[in-house]
Protein backbone atom coordinates (compact mmCIF):
# COMPACT_ATOMS: atom_id res chain seq x y z
CA UNK A 1 0.00 0.00 0.00
CA UNK A 2 1.24 3.46 -0.91
CA UNK A 3 -0.10 6.93 -0.31
CA UNK A 4 0.82 8.98 -3.29
CA UNK A 5 -0.04 12.09 -5.28
CA UNK A 6 -0.90 10.42 -8.56
CA UNK A 7 -1.08 12.38 -11.79
CA UNK A 8 -4.31 12.50 -13.74
CA UNK A 9 -3.23 11.60 -17.24
CA UNK A 10 -6.67 11.30 -18.76
CA UNK A 11 -10.14 12.28 -17.63
CA UNK A 12 -13.37 12.17 -19.57
CA UNK A 13 -17.07 11.64 -19.28
CA UNK A 14 -18.16 8.34 -20.83
CA UNK A 15 -21.85 8.18 -19.90
CA UNK A 16 -24.35 10.21 -17.91
CA UNK A 17 -22.52 11.20 -14.71
CA UNK A 18 -19.96 8.48 -15.39
CA UNK A 19 -16.32 9.43 -15.73
CA UNK A 20 -13.23 7.52 -16.76
CA UNK A 21 -9.95 8.66 -15.25
CA UNK A 22 -6.44 7.47 -15.91
CA UNK A 23 -3.88 7.90 -13.15
CA UNK A 24 -0.14 7.50 -13.18
CA UNK A 25 1.99 6.65 -10.19
CA UNK A 26 4.24 4.20 -8.43
CA UNK A 27 1.50 2.38 -6.62
CA UNK A 28 0.42 0.79 -9.86
CA UNK A 29 3.40 -1.54 -9.45
CA UNK A 30 1.91 -2.87 -6.24
CA UNK A 31 -1.41 -4.00 -7.64
CA UNK A 32 -1.92 -7.69 -6.99
CA UNK A 33 -4.88 -8.70 -9.11
CA UNK A 34 -8.21 -7.44 -10.43
CA UNK A 35 -10.80 -6.07 -8.03
CA UNK A 36 -8.62 -4.11 -5.65
CA UNK A 37 -9.52 -0.52 -4.96
CA UNK A 38 -8.09 2.93 -4.37
CA UNK A 39 -8.98 5.24 -1.52
CA UNK A 40 -9.14 8.73 -2.98
CA UNK A 41 -9.23 12.03 -1.14
CA UNK A 42 -11.64 14.42 -2.88
CA UNK A 43 -9.56 17.20 -4.45
CA UNK A 44 -10.01 20.95 -3.98
CA UNK A 45 -11.73 20.53 -0.64
CA UNK A 46 -10.56 21.07 2.89
CA UNK A 47 -13.78 20.08 4.58
CA UNK A 48 -13.99 16.45 3.44
CA UNK A 49 -11.98 14.17 5.68
CA UNK A 50 -13.04 10.80 4.32
CA UNK A 51 -11.56 9.19 1.27
CA UNK A 52 -13.68 7.62 -1.45
CA UNK A 53 -13.17 3.94 -2.28
CA UNK A 54 -13.08 3.46 -6.05
CA UNK A 55 -12.30 0.17 -7.78
CA UNK A 56 -9.39 -0.21 -10.12
CA UNK A 57 -10.83 -0.86 -13.57
CA UNK A 58 -7.64 -1.54 -15.52
CA UNK A 59 -3.96 -1.61 -14.61
CA UNK A 60 -0.96 -1.26 -16.84
CA UNK A 61 2.26 -1.84 -14.94
CA UNK A 62 4.38 -1.08 -18.00
CA UNK A 63 3.22 2.54 -18.10
CA UNK A 64 2.55 2.74 -14.35
CA UNK A 65 -0.99 3.78 -15.19
CA UNK A 66 -4.36 2.58 -14.10
CA UNK A 67 -7.92 3.46 -14.97
CA UNK A 68 -10.86 4.06 -12.70
CA UNK A 69 -14.48 4.67 -13.57
CA UNK A 70 -16.72 6.50 -11.18
CA UNK A 71 -20.14 7.99 -10.97
CA UNK A 72 -20.39 11.64 -9.92
CA UNK A 73 -22.83 11.01 -7.14
CA UNK A 74 -22.33 13.00 -3.95
CA UNK A 75 -20.09 15.85 -2.91
CA UNK A 76 -16.73 14.10 -3.21
CA UNK A 77 -17.16 12.45 -6.58
CA UNK A 78 -18.65 15.62 -7.98
CA UNK A 79 -15.51 17.45 -6.93
CA UNK A 80 -13.50 14.69 -8.54
CA UNK A 81 -15.31 15.28 -11.80
CA UNK A 82 -13.84 18.79 -11.91
CA UNK A 83 -10.24 17.66 -11.47
CA UNK A 84 -8.27 18.78 -14.51
CA UNK A 85 -5.87 16.54 -16.42
CA UNK A 86 -2.27 16.95 -15.32
CA UNK A 87 -3.36 17.80 -11.78
CA UNK A 88 -2.53 15.58 -8.82
CA UNK A 89 -4.80 13.40 -6.74
CA UNK A 90 -4.09 12.14 -3.21
CA UNK A 91 -4.54 8.39 -3.52
CA UNK A 92 -4.03 5.44 -1.17
CA UNK A 93 -3.79 1.99 -2.62
CA UNK A 94 -3.94 -0.61 -3.88
CA UNK A 95 -6.24 -1.84 -1.12
CA UNK A 96 -8.12 -5.02 -0.42
CA UNK A 97 -8.20 -8.37 -2.12
CA UNK A 98 -9.59 -8.79 -5.59
CA UNK A 99 -11.21 -11.53 -7.66
CA UNK A 100 -9.26 -14.81 -7.58
CA UNK A 101 -8.73 -14.89 -11.33
CA UNK A 102 -5.59 -16.92 -10.76
CA UNK A 103 -7.64 -19.80 -9.38
CA UNK A 104 -9.63 -20.24 -12.56
CA UNK A 105 -8.51 -23.29 -14.52
CA UNK A 106 -8.27 -23.40 -18.30
CA UNK A 107 -11.46 -24.77 -19.77
CA UNK A 108 -13.72 -23.23 -17.18
CA UNK A 109 -16.43 -20.93 -18.44
CA UNK A 110 -16.71 -17.77 -16.35
CA UNK A 111 -19.75 -15.57 -16.05
CA UNK A 112 -19.07 -11.95 -15.12
CA UNK A 113 -22.05 -10.05 -13.77
CA UNK A 114 -21.87 -6.36 -13.09
CA UNK A 115 -24.45 -3.82 -12.06
CA UNK A 116 -23.98 -0.10 -12.67
CA UNK A 117 -20.93 1.26 -11.00
CA UNK A 118 -20.04 -2.32 -10.00
CA UNK A 119 -18.94 -2.97 -13.57
CA UNK A 120 -15.42 -1.42 -13.45
CA UNK A 121 -13.54 -4.05 -11.38
CA UNK A 122 -14.89 -6.77 -13.66
CA UNK A 123 -13.09 -5.27 -16.62
CA UNK A 124 -9.64 -5.87 -15.16
CA UNK A 125 -10.84 -9.33 -14.19
CA UNK A 126 -12.03 -10.01 -17.71
CA UNK A 127 -8.69 -8.91 -19.15
CA UNK A 128 -6.76 -11.19 -16.81
CA UNK A 129 -8.99 -14.16 -17.52
CA UNK A 130 -8.89 -13.56 -21.24
CA UNK A 131 -5.12 -13.43 -21.12
CA UNK A 132 -5.22 -16.88 -19.60
CA UNK A 133 -7.47 -18.00 -22.45
CA UNK A 134 -10.52 -18.42 -20.27
CA UNK A 135 -13.91 -18.29 -21.98
CA UNK A 136 -16.08 -15.44 -20.75
CA UNK A 137 -19.65 -14.30 -20.83
CA UNK A 138 -20.50 -10.89 -19.39
CA UNK A 139 -23.86 -9.65 -18.26
CA UNK A 140 -24.05 -5.96 -17.50
CA UNK A 141 -27.00 -4.22 -15.90
CA UNK A 142 -27.63 -0.49 -15.94
CA UNK A 143 -30.50 1.76 -14.97
CA UNK A 144 -31.06 3.15 -18.45
CA UNK A 145 -29.49 3.68 -21.86
CA UNK A 146 -27.69 6.87 -20.85
CA UNK A 147 -25.66 5.14 -18.15
CA UNK A 148 -24.40 2.21 -20.20
CA UNK A 149 -20.63 2.09 -20.50
CA UNK A 150 -17.84 -0.32 -21.50
CA UNK A 151 -20.17 -2.63 -23.45
CA UNK A 152 -17.78 -2.57 -26.43
CA UNK A 153 -14.75 -3.09 -24.24
CA UNK A 154 -16.21 -6.25 -22.78
CA UNK A 155 -17.38 -7.40 -26.20
CA UNK A 156 -13.74 -7.53 -27.30
CA UNK A 157 -13.24 -10.19 -24.62
CA UNK A 158 -16.30 -12.40 -25.03
CA UNK A 159 -20.09 -12.51 -25.26
CA UNK A 160 -21.89 -9.57 -23.71
CA UNK A 161 -25.51 -9.14 -22.65
CA UNK A 162 -26.81 -5.80 -21.45
CA UNK A 163 -29.95 -5.12 -19.51
CA UNK A 164 -31.48 -1.85 -18.41
CA UNK A 165 -34.04 -1.44 -15.68
CA UNK A 166 -36.23 0.80 -17.77
CA UNK A 167 -35.76 -1.24 -20.94
CA UNK A 168 -34.32 1.71 -22.84
CA UNK A 169 -31.41 -0.44 -24.01
CA UNK A 170 -30.75 -4.20 -24.24
CA UNK A 171 -33.07 -6.49 -22.32
CA UNK A 172 -35.53 -4.86 -19.98
CA UNK A 173 -35.00 -5.95 -16.39
CA UNK A 174 -32.19 -7.08 -14.15
CA UNK A 175 -29.07 -9.13 -14.83
CA UNK A 176 -30.73 -12.14 -13.22
CA UNK A 177 -33.52 -11.90 -15.77
CA UNK A 178 -30.98 -12.00 -18.58
CA UNK A 179 -29.13 -14.98 -17.12
CA UNK A 180 -32.40 -16.87 -16.77
CA UNK A 181 -33.92 -15.94 -20.11
CA UNK A 182 -30.70 -16.55 -22.02
CA UNK A 183 -30.19 -19.78 -20.05
CA UNK A 184 -26.57 -18.86 -19.46
CA UNK A 185 -24.50 -21.59 -17.87
CA UNK A 186 -21.15 -21.17 -16.18
CA UNK A 187 -18.54 -22.97 -14.10
CA UNK A 188 -17.70 -19.91 -12.09
CA UNK A 189 -19.31 -16.54 -11.49
CA UNK A 190 -17.78 -13.22 -10.48
CA UNK A 191 -20.22 -10.47 -9.56
CA UNK A 192 -20.10 -6.87 -8.47
CA UNK A 193 -22.99 -4.50 -8.03
CA UNK A 194 -25.68 -3.41 -5.63
CA UNK A 195 -26.46 -5.77 -2.76
CA UNK A 196 -29.95 -6.65 -4.03
CA UNK A 197 -28.35 -7.86 -7.27
CA UNK A 198 -25.75 -9.92 -5.42
CA UNK A 199 -28.37 -11.35 -3.16
CA UNK A 200 -30.59 -12.29 -6.06
CA UNK A 201 -27.65 -14.06 -7.68
CA UNK A 202 -26.64 -15.95 -4.56
CA UNK A 203 -30.25 -16.94 -4.00
CA UNK A 204 -30.70 -18.07 -7.61
CA UNK A 205 -27.45 -20.05 -7.72
CA UNK A 206 -26.83 -21.10 -4.12
CA UNK A 207 -24.26 -23.70 -5.04
CA UNK A 208 -22.32 -21.74 -7.61
CA UNK A 209 -18.57 -21.40 -7.39
CA UNK A 210 -17.57 -17.79 -7.51
CA UNK A 211 -17.04 -14.48 -5.77
CA UNK A 212 -18.83 -11.26 -5.12
CA UNK A 213 -17.45 -7.81 -4.45
CA UNK A 214 -19.12 -5.69 -1.77
CA UNK A 215 -19.45 -1.99 -1.01
CA UNK A 216 -19.80 -0.27 2.32
CA UNK A 217 -19.16 3.19 3.73
CA UNK A 218 -15.56 3.25 4.89
CA UNK A 219 -13.36 5.16 7.25
CA UNK A 220 -9.76 4.00 7.06
CA UNK A 221 -9.88 1.52 4.17
CA UNK A 222 -7.18 -0.46 5.97
CA UNK A 223 -8.99 -2.63 8.47
CA UNK A 224 -8.42 -0.29 11.39
CA UNK A 225 -11.71 1.44 12.17
CA UNK A 226 -14.29 -1.34 11.74
CA UNK A 227 -16.61 0.94 9.79
CA UNK A 228 -17.06 -1.51 6.94
CA UNK A 229 -17.82 -4.85 8.51
CA UNK A 230 -20.33 -7.43 7.44
CA UNK A 231 -21.36 -10.64 9.13
CA UNK A 232 -20.05 -13.96 7.95
CA UNK A 233 -22.75 -16.45 7.05
CA UNK A 234 -21.48 -19.06 9.48
CA UNK A 235 -21.65 -16.88 12.53
CA UNK A 236 -21.68 -19.11 15.58
CA UNK A 237 -21.86 -16.52 18.36
CA UNK A 238 -23.06 -13.42 16.54
CA UNK A 239 -19.71 -11.64 16.63
CA UNK A 240 -17.99 -13.12 13.59
CA UNK A 241 -17.35 -10.61 10.87
CA UNK A 242 -15.39 -9.66 7.78
CA UNK A 243 -13.92 -6.27 7.03
CA UNK A 244 -14.89 -5.30 3.51
CA UNK A 245 -11.84 -3.06 3.07
CA UNK A 246 -9.15 -5.51 4.11
CA UNK A 247 -10.72 -9.00 4.10
CA UNK A 248 -12.65 -8.07 0.94
CA UNK A 249 -14.01 -6.30 -0.97
CA UNK A 250 -14.19 -9.65 -2.80
CA UNK A 251 -15.62 -12.60 -0.86
CA UNK A 252 -16.33 -16.19 -1.81
CA UNK A 253 -19.84 -17.06 -2.93
CA UNK A 254 -21.94 -17.51 0.19
CA UNK A 255 -19.23 -16.46 2.62
CA UNK A 256 -20.94 -13.37 4.01
CA UNK A 257 -24.47 -12.48 4.99
CA UNK A 258 -26.04 -10.15 2.45
Amino acid sequence: MKKENMTITNHRRIARNIYEMELEGKLVQETAGPGQFLHILPPASDSMLLRRPISICKTDKKTSRLTIIYRAEGKGTNQLAFAPEESRLDVMGPLGNGFPAENVSPGEHVLLTGGGIGVPPLYDTACDLREKGIELTTVLGFSDKETVFYEERFRELGDVYVSTEDGSYGTAGFVTDVIASEKLSFDRIFACGPVPMLKALEDAYPNARGSISLEERMGCGLGVCLACVCRSREDSDGTDYRKICSDGPVFSWGEVLL
Binding site: L49, L50, R217, G219, G221, A227, C230, T239
Partner: protein
Amino acid sequence: MSRMSVSLPGLEMKNPVMPASGCFGFGEEIGTLYDLDELGAIALKATTLEARYGNETPRVAETASGMLNAIGLQNPGLEKVLSDKLPPLASKEVPLLANIAGSTMEDYEAVADALSASGRVGALELNISCPNVKQGGIAFGTDPDLAAELTERVKAVSHVPVYVKLSPNTSDITVIADAVEKAGADGLTLINTLTGMKIDRKTGRPLLANQVGGLSGPAVKPVAIRMIHELRQQTTLPIIGMGGIMEAGDIIEFIMAGADAVAVGTANFTNPFICPELIGELGSMLEHEQVDHLYDLRAEEAGVR
Protein backbone atom coordinates in the same frame (compact mmCIF):
# COMPACT_ATOMS: atom_id res chain seq x y z
CA MET B 1 15.04 15.29 28.16
CA SER B 2 14.22 16.21 24.61
CA ARG B 3 12.11 19.13 23.46
CA MET B 4 9.17 16.84 22.88
CA SER B 5 9.27 14.18 25.58
CA VAL B 6 6.51 14.26 28.15
CA SER B 7 6.04 12.24 31.27
CA LEU B 8 2.55 11.29 32.31
CA PRO B 9 1.41 8.78 34.91
CA GLY B 10 2.18 5.35 33.49
CA LEU B 11 3.20 6.83 30.13
CA GLU B 12 6.77 7.92 29.52
CA MET B 13 6.35 9.41 26.08
CA LYS B 14 9.19 10.51 23.84
CA ASN B 15 6.79 12.85 22.15
CA PRO B 16 3.29 14.05 23.07
CA VAL B 17 1.48 12.31 20.21
CA MET B 18 -0.61 9.14 20.41
CA PRO B 19 -3.28 7.82 18.11
CA ALA B 20 -6.71 8.06 19.77
CA SER B 21 -8.69 5.04 20.86
CA GLY B 22 -10.75 3.45 18.12
CA CYS B 23 -8.80 5.11 15.34
CA PHE B 24 -5.82 2.75 15.36
CA GLY B 25 -7.25 -0.64 16.33
CA PHE B 26 -4.53 -2.48 18.24
CA GLY B 27 -1.86 -1.21 15.89
CA GLU B 28 -1.76 -4.29 13.64
CA GLU B 29 -2.58 -2.58 10.36
CA ILE B 30 -0.85 0.77 10.71
CA GLY B 31 2.08 -1.07 12.32
CA THR B 32 2.86 -2.37 8.83
CA LEU B 33 3.17 1.21 7.56
CA TYR B 34 5.72 2.58 10.03
CA ASP B 35 7.51 1.66 13.21
CA LEU B 36 5.07 2.07 16.10
CA ASP B 37 7.96 3.02 18.36
CA GLU B 38 8.00 6.39 16.63
CA LEU B 39 4.81 7.19 18.55
CA GLY B 40 4.63 8.78 21.99
CA ALA B 41 2.08 6.17 23.02
CA ILE B 42 -0.88 4.27 21.58
CA ALA B 43 -4.43 4.40 22.85
CA LEU B 44 -5.92 1.02 22.06
CA LYS B 45 -9.41 0.33 20.78
CA ALA B 46 -11.95 -0.09 23.58
CA THR B 47 -11.94 -3.55 25.14
CA THR B 48 -15.05 -4.99 26.74
CA LEU B 49 -15.39 -8.16 28.78
CA GLU B 50 -17.21 -10.09 26.06
CA ALA B 51 -16.71 -9.86 22.33
CA ARG B 52 -19.00 -7.34 20.66
CA TYR B 53 -20.08 -7.13 17.04
CA GLY B 54 -21.15 -3.52 17.43
CA ASN B 55 -23.79 -1.72 15.42
CA GLU B 56 -25.14 -2.49 12.01
CA THR B 57 -23.77 -0.61 9.00
CA PRO B 58 -23.57 2.13 7.77
CA ARG B 59 -21.39 3.04 10.70
CA VAL B 60 -19.73 6.20 9.42
CA ALA B 61 -20.87 9.35 7.69
CA GLU B 62 -19.07 12.42 6.53
CA THR B 63 -19.96 15.89 7.81
CA ALA B 64 -18.46 19.33 7.22
CA SER B 65 -14.89 19.12 8.54
CA GLY B 66 -15.91 16.12 10.57
CA MET B 67 -17.33 12.63 10.58
CA LEU B 68 -19.88 10.66 12.50
CA ASN B 69 -19.15 7.15 13.69
CA ALA B 70 -21.30 4.56 15.35
CA ILE B 71 -19.02 1.56 15.49
CA GLY B 72 -20.60 0.43 18.73
CA LEU B 73 -17.45 -0.70 20.52
CA GLN B 74 -16.85 -3.68 18.29
CA ASN B 75 -13.97 -5.66 19.77
CA PRO B 76 -12.99 -9.29 20.28
CA GLY B 77 -13.43 -9.18 24.05
CA LEU B 78 -10.97 -9.24 26.92
CA GLU B 79 -9.73 -12.77 26.44
CA LYS B 80 -8.82 -12.36 22.77
CA VAL B 81 -7.29 -8.95 23.41
CA LEU B 82 -4.98 -10.61 25.93
CA SER B 83 -4.26 -13.63 23.77
CA ASP B 84 -4.17 -12.12 20.26
CA LYS B 85 -3.89 -8.35 20.36
CA LEU B 86 -1.33 -7.54 23.04
CA PRO B 87 1.34 -10.18 22.24
CA PRO B 88 2.25 -8.70 18.83
CA LEU B 89 2.93 -5.44 20.67
CA ALA B 90 5.33 -7.13 23.09
CA SER B 91 8.33 -6.46 20.88
CA LYS B 92 7.58 -2.74 20.83
CA GLU B 93 8.51 -0.24 23.48
CA VAL B 94 5.78 2.31 22.84
CA PRO B 95 3.64 2.83 25.96
CA LEU B 96 0.06 1.61 25.72
CA LEU B 97 -3.05 3.27 27.06
CA ALA B 98 -5.76 0.61 27.18
CA ASN B 99 -9.25 1.96 26.63
CA ILE B 100 -11.87 -0.04 28.52
CA ALA B 101 -15.63 -0.03 28.34
CA GLY B 102 -18.54 -1.99 29.71
CA SER B 103 -22.19 -1.95 30.52
CA THR B 104 -21.85 -2.72 34.23
CA MET B 105 -19.32 -1.68 36.84
CA GLU B 106 -18.36 -5.32 37.24
CA ASP B 107 -17.48 -5.49 33.54
CA TYR B 108 -15.20 -2.50 33.88
CA GLU B 109 -13.55 -3.99 36.96
CA ALA B 110 -12.88 -7.31 35.32
CA VAL B 111 -11.38 -5.74 32.20
CA ALA B 112 -9.38 -3.21 34.21
CA ASP B 113 -7.96 -5.84 36.48
CA ALA B 114 -6.91 -8.22 33.73
CA LEU B 115 -5.59 -5.65 31.24
CA SER B 116 -3.65 -3.70 33.83
CA ALA B 117 -2.09 -6.92 35.07
CA SER B 118 -0.93 -7.87 31.58
CA GLY B 119 2.39 -6.13 32.06
CA ARG B 120 2.20 -4.53 28.64
CA VAL B 121 -0.27 -1.79 29.47
CA GLY B 122 1.07 1.48 30.92
CA ALA B 123 -2.24 2.98 31.91
CA LEU B 124 -5.97 2.54 31.52
CA GLU B 125 -8.41 4.91 29.84
CA LEU B 126 -11.88 4.54 31.27
CA ASN B 127 -14.31 5.09 28.45
CA ILE B 128 -17.38 6.53 30.11
CA SER B 129 -18.31 8.62 27.14
CA CYS B 130 -19.12 6.40 24.19
CA PRO B 131 -22.30 7.76 22.63
CA ASN B 132 -22.84 4.67 20.50
CA VAL B 133 -23.95 2.01 22.90
CA LYS B 134 -27.33 1.82 24.49
CA GLN B 135 -26.28 0.66 27.92
CA GLY B 136 -23.49 1.96 30.12
CA GLY B 137 -20.91 4.00 28.28
CA ILE B 138 -22.23 7.49 28.18
CA ALA B 139 -24.57 7.02 31.13
CA PHE B 140 -21.53 6.70 33.39
CA GLY B 141 -20.15 9.79 31.73
CA THR B 142 -23.03 12.16 32.37
CA ASP B 143 -23.83 11.28 35.98
CA PRO B 144 -21.07 12.53 38.32
CA ASP B 145 -21.92 10.09 41.10
CA LEU B 146 -21.84 7.08 38.81
CA ALA B 147 -18.64 8.32 37.21
CA ALA B 148 -16.99 8.75 40.60
CA GLU B 149 -18.08 5.35 41.84
CA LEU B 150 -16.86 3.67 38.68
CA THR B 151 -13.51 5.46 38.87
CA GLU B 152 -13.07 4.45 42.49
CA ARG B 153 -13.87 0.83 41.79
CA VAL B 154 -11.59 0.63 38.78
CA LYS B 155 -8.80 2.37 40.66
CA ALA B 156 -9.18 -0.23 43.41
CA VAL B 157 -8.47 -3.11 41.05
CA SER B 158 -6.10 -1.50 38.58
CA HIS B 159 -2.38 -2.16 38.69
CA VAL B 160 -1.59 0.92 36.60
CA PRO B 161 -2.69 4.60 36.56
CA VAL B 162 -6.24 5.26 35.43
CA TYR B 163 -7.30 8.08 33.08
CA VAL B 164 -10.95 8.91 32.64
CA LYS B 165 -12.18 9.83 29.19
CA LEU B 166 -14.76 12.59 29.35
CA SER B 167 -17.76 13.27 27.17
CA PRO B 168 -18.34 16.72 25.67
CA ASN B 169 -22.09 16.08 25.73
CA THR B 170 -22.59 17.94 28.96
CA SER B 171 -23.57 21.39 30.11
CA ASP B 172 -20.69 21.52 32.58
CA ILE B 173 -17.58 19.42 32.07
CA THR B 174 -16.07 20.62 35.34
CA VAL B 175 -18.57 18.71 37.44
CA ILE B 176 -17.70 15.27 36.07
CA ALA B 177 -14.01 16.08 36.01
CA ASP B 178 -14.10 17.12 39.60
CA ALA B 179 -16.02 14.00 40.59
CA VAL B 180 -13.59 11.60 38.96
CA GLU B 181 -10.58 13.52 40.23
CA LYS B 182 -11.86 13.22 43.79
CA ALA B 183 -12.50 9.54 43.13
CA GLY B 184 -8.82 9.06 42.39
CA ALA B 185 -8.39 9.43 38.63
CA ASP B 186 -4.75 9.86 37.65
CA GLY B 187 -5.53 11.82 34.53
CA LEU B 188 -8.22 13.03 32.16
CA THR B 189 -8.58 12.45 28.46
CA LEU B 190 -10.95 14.54 26.36
CA ILE B 191 -12.92 14.99 24.29
CA ASN B 192 -14.77 11.94 23.18
CA THR B 193 -17.25 12.55 20.38
CA LEU B 194 -20.24 14.88 20.37
CA THR B 195 -23.50 13.14 19.60
CA GLY B 196 -24.73 13.99 16.13
CA MET B 197 -26.85 12.77 13.26
CA LYS B 198 -26.88 12.87 9.51
CA ILE B 199 -30.02 12.57 7.43
CA ASP B 200 -29.88 10.60 4.20
CA ARG B 201 -31.56 12.93 1.73
CA LYS B 202 -32.55 9.98 -0.42
CA THR B 203 -34.63 8.30 2.26
CA GLY B 204 -35.41 11.12 4.66
CA ARG B 205 -34.12 8.95 7.49
CA PRO B 206 -30.94 8.91 9.56
CA LEU B 207 -28.05 7.68 7.47
CA LEU B 208 -26.36 5.65 10.20
CA ALA B 209 -27.97 2.36 11.12
CA ASN B 210 -27.61 3.41 14.75
CA GLN B 211 -29.33 6.73 13.87
CA VAL B 212 -26.96 8.81 15.99
CA GLY B 213 -23.18 8.75 15.91
CA GLY B 214 -20.22 10.48 17.46
CA LEU B 215 -18.94 13.63 15.79
CA SER B 216 -15.16 13.98 15.54
CA GLY B 217 -12.65 15.89 13.46
CA PRO B 218 -11.73 19.58 13.12
CA ALA B 219 -15.39 20.58 13.42
CA VAL B 220 -15.26 19.79 17.16
CA LYS B 221 -11.84 21.26 17.90
CA PRO B 222 -13.19 24.53 19.35
CA VAL B 223 -15.30 22.53 21.80
CA ALA B 224 -12.30 20.40 22.79
CA ILE B 225 -10.05 23.41 23.27
CA ARG B 226 -12.67 25.17 25.35
CA MET B 227 -13.17 22.20 27.67
CA ILE B 228 -9.47 21.59 28.14
CA HIS B 229 -8.89 25.27 28.87
CA GLU B 230 -11.74 25.23 31.34
CA LEU B 231 -10.50 22.13 33.16
CA ARG B 232 -6.96 23.45 33.26
CA GLN B 233 -8.22 26.28 35.45
CA GLN B 234 -9.50 23.84 38.05
CA THR B 235 -7.14 20.90 38.09
CA THR B 236 -3.47 19.96 37.91
CA LEU B 237 -4.31 16.44 36.74
CA PRO B 238 -2.59 15.52 33.49
CA ILE B 239 -4.83 16.02 30.49
CA ILE B 240 -4.55 14.17 27.20
CA GLY B 241 -6.29 16.42 24.70
CA MET B 242 -7.95 15.39 21.47
CA GLY B 243 -10.59 16.46 19.01
CA GLY B 244 -9.81 17.51 15.46
CA ILE B 245 -6.04 17.50 15.42
CA MET B 246 -4.90 17.55 11.78
CA GLU B 247 -1.64 19.50 11.83
CA ALA B 248 1.26 20.26 14.14
CA GLY B 249 -0.12 23.73 14.86
CA ASP B 250 -3.22 22.11 16.31
CA ILE B 251 -1.06 20.17 18.77
CA ILE B 252 0.50 23.43 19.89
CA GLU B 253 -2.96 24.92 20.43
CA PHE B 254 -3.96 21.96 22.60
CA ILE B 255 -0.78 22.29 24.64
CA MET B 256 -1.38 26.03 24.99
CA ALA B 257 -4.94 25.37 26.13
CA GLY B 258 -3.64 23.13 28.89
CA ALA B 259 -3.17 19.62 27.54
CA ASP B 260 -0.06 17.67 28.55
CA ALA B 261 -0.19 15.29 25.61
CA VAL B 262 -2.50 14.81 22.66
CA ALA B 263 -4.29 12.08 20.78
CA VAL B 264 -5.04 12.03 17.07
CA GLY B 265 -8.16 10.23 15.90
CA THR B 266 -10.01 10.93 12.69
CA ALA B 267 -6.92 12.28 10.94
CA ASN B 268 -5.56 8.71 10.78
CA PHE B 269 -8.31 7.90 8.28
CA THR B 270 -7.50 10.86 6.05
CA ASN B 271 -3.83 9.96 6.25
CA PRO B 272 -2.61 6.79 7.98
CA PHE B 273 0.90 8.24 8.16
CA ILE B 274 -0.30 11.33 10.02
CA CYS B 275 1.12 10.56 13.47
CA PRO B 276 4.80 10.28 12.53
CA GLU B 277 4.34 13.22 10.14
CA LEU B 278 2.95 15.36 12.95
CA ILE B 279 5.76 14.32 15.27
CA GLY B 280 8.30 15.36 12.66
CA GLU B 281 6.61 18.70 11.99
CA LEU B 282 6.20 19.45 15.67
CA GLY B 283 9.90 18.81 16.18
CA SER B 284 10.82 21.18 13.38
CA MET B 285 8.48 23.86 14.69
CA LEU B 286 9.94 23.67 18.17
CA GLU B 287 13.42 23.82 16.76
CA HIS B 288 12.46 26.78 14.62
CA GLU B 289 10.92 28.58 17.59
CA GLN B 290 14.00 27.69 19.61
CA VAL B 291 12.09 26.63 22.67
CA ASP B 292 13.70 24.20 25.07
CA HIS B 293 10.53 22.27 25.62
CA LEU B 294 7.07 22.10 24.14
CA TYR B 295 5.55 23.27 27.41
CA ASP B 296 7.49 26.52 27.20
CA LEU B 297 5.05 27.56 24.48
CA ARG B 298 2.38 28.01 27.10
CA ALA B 299 1.47 31.52 28.12
CA GLU B 300 2.61 32.00 31.70
CA GLU B 301 -0.57 32.64 33.57
CA ALA B 302 -2.56 30.01 31.75
CA GLY B 303 -4.01 27.47 34.11
CA VAL B 304 -3.44 26.55 37.70
CA ARG B 305 0.05 25.08 37.54
